[in-house]
Amino acid sequence: MEDSLMHRKKRVLIAGALLMSATVISWLAFYVRANALQPEREIHITAKKFEFTPDTITLKKGEPVVLVLSSQDRKHGFNVRAFGIRADVDPGETARIRFTPNKTGKFTFSCDVFCGEGHEDMTGTIVVTE
């Protein structure tokens, strides 16, 4: 009789522990999913004499992005002075710039490594919306 009672109590305890564990695991899974880092949007930009492709990029204020830059011919530069970001863009390599626009508007980006006669025309625009 006592054995049976003990056995029943043990089963209740185990069931309770399992239920609690399941609850904690579910909650943790939910928490992790909810708080996981948003995958940053990657924007690929190609540089070649004397243009960037694309030459207009639309971003959202507060949305983190990664600009992935490559060159098809020679060394170029990529500079967005409004956000204080720049990178050398060497052929055969990839430059990555991670940033989060913190203001809206239209902002010029340009090549800041002299690359020839059309260098000064090598510009583009970042449009940041709300």
Binding site: K75, S110, D112, V113, F114, D121, T123
Partner: protein, 307 residues
């Protein structure tokens, strides 16, 4: 009678038109007699001299809507300088002597042609410096073959001239090595020395979105700041512009090929088209008269516009 009339620096006859003078910054004109005065720090220095600045000649440029006389403008400028009744002590070319090209041989041909034309100047002393069009694609290799060092100093009648290279690195950088060279040179100068810096790009952030800056220019200015009497003459922006950074004055020169718009005045920088009703408008050269004792430079703009 005006200062320039008195001095008769310019012989108007034979230039195919008049020459317009414009004194910049409202600087006072100087005394008219060349004499000697007791200089700063006990030195005996000549009171004044003058030199001519030419800039951004872009030899090899072609664009009839911008300058239909692309092959004649530099020659005309040489003629103007040679016609000055009183010749300057020396001449400086502050960069972009030639228009850029990817073709190495064409680059060298343009430099040779430019050198031939500049060689027609009567003044024997000419100091050259490079612009990005001359030197950025090959880190100054061809330029040095034709014109010598990219950075150097010279002294003239009590003024220490420093030629800085902010173009042979295509990233518009003076660079650590040259910066150390500059600092070592400045250490040899007294704090009240008369110092003139000649360079191509602006050393301050004039308008970086238009490439009108030197990436490490602030380090250069910091190095110059302990010296009380520093003036910078530069080119690159194809127009007259005057700015102070602290006590250091920066003066840009007009081009001898095409003018550019005022900083940020239009959405996209582009040469200002040729005005057939006013040929050579916006182009020009300047003479710079140094009052060594006062550490003052009187700038007179000379136009080629024939009217």
């Amino acid at each position: 009678m005006g200062e320039m009339d008195r001095r008769g620096f310019i012989k108007l006859a034979g230039l195919g038109g008049g020459i317009v003078f414009a004194s910049s910054l409202g600087l006072n004109t100087l005394g008219s007699v060349l004499d000697y005065a007791s200089g700063y720090a006990g030195k005996k220095v000549e009171k004044e001299f003058y030199f001519v600045q030419l800039s951004d000649t872009h030899w090899g440029f072609s664009g009839p809507k911008v300058n239909p006389d692309a092959e004649g403008t530099l020659k005309k400028a040489v003629q103007v300088v040679n016609s000055l009744e009183e010749q300057p002590d020396f001449i400086v070319f502050t960069g972009d002597l030639t228009h850029t090209t990817d073709n190495v041989q064409v680059r060298k041909d343009r430099m040779a042609q430019f050198k031939d034309i500049a060689g027609q100047l009567k003044v024997p002393t000419v100091h050259f410096m490079a612009g990005e069009h001359d030197a950025s694609l090959d880190r100054g290799d061809a330029y040095q073959q034709f014109f010598g060092k990219l950075n150097y100093t010279f002294d003239h009648k009590g003024v220490h001239f420093i030629v800085l290279d902010n173009v042979s690195d295509p990233g518009a950088i003076v660079g650590e090595s040259q910066l150390n060279w500059l600092k070592a040179d400045l250490q040899q100068q007294k704090t009240d020395a008369r110092i003139v810096v000649l360079t191509h790009r602006p050393l301050f952030d004039l308008y970086p979105d238009w490439d009108w800056a030197t990436r490490d220019g602030s380090a250069v200015i910091d190095a110059l700041m302990p010296h009380k009497n520093v003036t910078v003459f530069y080119g690159h922006i194809h127009q007259e512009h005057h700015q102070m950074t602290g006590h250091i004055a920066h003066h840009s020169a007009k081009s001898l090929m095409f003018p550019l718009p005022a900083p940020g005045s239009v959405p996209k920088k582009a040469p200002i088209p040729w005005d057939a009703s006013a040929p050579y408008k916006g182009l020009g050269l300047r003479n710079i008269e140094a009052d060594v004792k006062q550490a003052r430079y009187d700038i007179k703009e000379l136009s080629l516009n024939g009217g």
